[in-house]
Structure formats: C-alpha cells, structure tokens
C-alpha cells in the first residue's frame, strides 16, 4: 500500500516538475527564489510572443518610482490561466508579485497580479531547482 501511495505521489511530483517555467529561455537571469511585491499603475500590457509583458510605474521601496517591465509566458500558455489581451489597461492600479532579475534592473517574471477588482491572476509558480522538464514517458 505504501508503495502504491509512493507511486501516486511520485507521479504527482513528476507532473508538477514536467511543466516548464519559461518556454524559450532559461531562468538564469532571474534571482530565483526571491519575491517582491509592488503596487503600481499600469502603463502598457503587451500580449505577444514569445512572452507577454506588463509595464507599470511603481515605487521600488526607496522612494524612487521606476517603470517596471515584467514578463509572463506566451498567450497560448496564459489563456488557459484566465489571462487575455484585455487583462489590463493603462491606468489600472495593480499589485504585482514578481521574481526580479539579478542585475537590479526593474525587470522580472510575474508570479501573480491582483487586479483593481480584487481578482488574482496567477502566472507561474516560484522557480525551484526541479523546474527542468522531464521527458515524456513513451507509449508502448
């Protein structure tokens, strides 16, 4: 019984890690594991390949307002998560949680966003060391 339970848990783990985080480039530039939350005002929402990105003005915690550009995956990957070309418009007040890049630039990867109406849009899970995709099991 324990073995069966182990198999089920193992399969669940495999499914979790088999979902890659970024489709076309690695996460090497990201300060993975670090999360910051910013409150700001949307300036532009670009719904495009290979990645969508949200631009917004926000105070970085030092009193300086910077224009952030933070990415998601492609429209084909975001649509099933409830995102769309119409998710944001300029002027929206949003709360954005991201993994920032290492070099200190106002760039990063969105983990989730809280919209003006309180709705939470989830973009990704935080990066883990196990994020490398697993090869699919061949069919027999």
């Amino acid at each position: 019984m324990k073995k069966i339970l182990f198999d089920i848990l193992g399969a669940a783990a495999l499914l979790l890690v088999s979902v890659p985080l970024l489709a076309h480039h690695g996460a090497a530039a990201l300060d993975t594991g670090k999360e910051i939350t910013l409150k700001g005002t949307v300036t532009e929402w670009i719904w495009s390949n290979p990645h969508c990105f949200l631009k917004f003005d926000a105070n970085d915690g030092t009193g300086t307002v910077r224009n952030w550009a933070v990415e998601t995956q492609s429209p084909t990957s975001m649509t099933p998560r409830g995102w769309s070309r119409m998710s944001f418009k300029a002027g929206d007040e949003v709360t954005v949680t991201i993994e920032p890049v290492k070099n200190g630039q106002p760039i990063g990867r969105i983990l989730h966003v809280i919209l003006p109406n309180g709705q939470k849009l989830i973009a990704a899970n935080p990066t883990t060391p196990e994020s490398r995709p697993v090869a699919p099991v061949p069919v027999q």
């Binding site: 069966i4 089920i8 669940a12 480039h25 390949n49 649509t79």
Partner: protein, 271 residues
C-alpha cells in the same frame, strides 16, 4: 517491479485526466494543453485505430514542448562541436547570457524550421490527408508542411528549404514513415542550440496506437555533425482532440521578438 511501474503510469494518467476535467472547450482560440496543462479538451473518439488514417487535430501536451533542448555534446564531430560553440542558446546545457543569445528564432524572428518545430514547440497540429499528400498544419508559427505520398523519391541535390522536402509511405496500416532532406542549416535543432548540416536526413514515424493516440518517433542522421544517428523523440504520445477544436494563433513575429528583447531580455543581462 512491473506492478510498481504500472501503478506509477496509471497514477500519472489518472492525475492528468483528473486535472483536466474542469477544462471546457471553447468555440474559438483553444491553446491545447500547452505549458500550463490546464486546458486539454475532452477526449476525441476512442476505439480501434482506423487504417491508414492520421487525419485529425492532435496535441502532445507538455511533452511536445522541450524548452531546454537536448544534451547531445557527446555525439558531436569536430565540425559539430565548432558549430555548436558558435550558437549561443537561451536555454539548455550551453545556455548563454541573454546579452549573447543569438537564437535565430527568438532574436531575429526566423522560422523555427524543420525539425525544430517538432523538437521545441510541438504545439497542437492538424493532419490532413489527400490522395497524394499528408499535410501537417502546425499551430506554432501557423506553418504547414507537405509530405508527398505519391511514391516520388526525395530530390538528390535540392535547394535547401526552411522546412525541407518530405516523402511518406505506409509501413503498415497504422504506421506512416516520413523521410525529409534538403534542410536549411541556418536553423537550430532545438532550444539548446544544437546545429545540423544541410545534408541531415530526418525520419519521422507516426504510429497510430488506437482511435485517439499517436506515437511519434524522430531519428536524425547527420554524419557531418553527429557521430551516430540519434532519436530525440521516442514514441512521444500525442492525443486526438475533438474535430471542432479551433486553435489559437501562436506566431513568433519578428516585431514582437524585437520588442521583447528591447524591453526585457536586453535589460536582464548579467554581464
């Protein structure tokens, strides 16, 4: 041990199916399973495989998307190693800093080409069969390939093309074998920047398991670049989608690639 493995597989499939029962098919703009794994549509028709028929809309799900490419350095010839070093990929075992990335697909908007369209972004695709062709219509790039099934031979010394030249024959009633040649060596094989020459030959084997499942095996033979043939896809499972599935566009346009590099990638460099 066999029981142990079987339970593992059954549990995997059960969880996959369970995770998708909430998915609903929309009349337009379906994305397939994609990276999120949230939107697989209901199963297509089940039952035995039809004879010599691959037609339908197919989705390999997350298994069709290989963002890190393939680790094949051990197979390089000296020329292969030299070509691989010139490629600065954004992912995989030889990942380069984003400031050095020279992936022709993501930095220039070049076509993925063949076989990269199978080895990187095998998003949902439709197979259409005519009397003398099998047509592959890919959601990624909104691109198509023609596979001639009229018995012709591949050209001997063709002018290279992004998607090459392809001929197919039925090995048996359930297996279509496709040979391709004349492939433009400006394209990469995958996201890891693995190169190929214009003399590479590619074999695809589409084996129909049953009414709703295909298994795809891809083998590459390129003795200029690799010391032996290798098989990046081995019986990749691909599921049939309902025949009224309208697919999204997923076009990696040059202008969008450039905007992304300007706004995000070039700002994220670490050296």
């Amino acid at each position: 041990m066999r029981l142990h493995f079987s339970v593992f597989i059954i549990a995997s499939v059960t969880l996959l199916v369970a995770g998708r029962t909430h998915a609903q098919m929309k009349p337009w703009n379906n994305s397939g399973v994609g990276l999120s794994g949230l939107s697989e549509p209901p199963k297509g028709p089940s039952g035995p495989a039809p004879r010599r028929d691959l037609s339908g809309i197919w989705d390999a799900g997350p298994g069709g998307i290989q963002p890190t490419g393939y680790d094949v350095a051990a197979l390089f010839t000296p020329l292969g190693e030299k070509m691989a070093k010139a490629n600065k990929p954004g992912n995989g075992p030889r990942i380069a800093d984003v400031s050095e990335d020279n992936d022709p697909l993501s930095t220039l908007g070049d076509p993925a080409g063949f076989p990269r369209i199978l080895l990187y972004e095998l998003r949902p695709f439709q197979i259409v069969q005519t009397a003398n062709q099998v047509l592959m219509l890919y959601m990624f790039e909104k691109r198509w390939r023609v596979i001639w099934t009229d018995g012709r031979e591949l050209p001997k010394d063709p002018d290279p093309r992004w998607y090459g030249y392809s001929v197919g024959r039925w090995e048996d009633d359930y297996t279509l074998v496709v040979q391709s040649f004349g492939l433009d060596d400006r394209t990469w094989l995958d996201n890891a920047g693995n190169p190929h020459s214009a003399s590479m030959r590619v074999e695809e084997r589409y084996h129909r398991i049953d009414g709703e499942t295909l298994a795809l095996t891809v083998t590459l033979e390129d003795p200029l670049i690799y010391t032996k043939p290798w098989t990046p896809l081995n019986k990749l499972p691909i599921r049939l989608m309902p025949n009224d599935t309208d697919l999204m566009e997923m076009v990696p346009s040059a202008s969008e690639a450039l905007a992304y590099r300007k706004e995000i990638a070039s700002q994220a460099k670490t050296k």
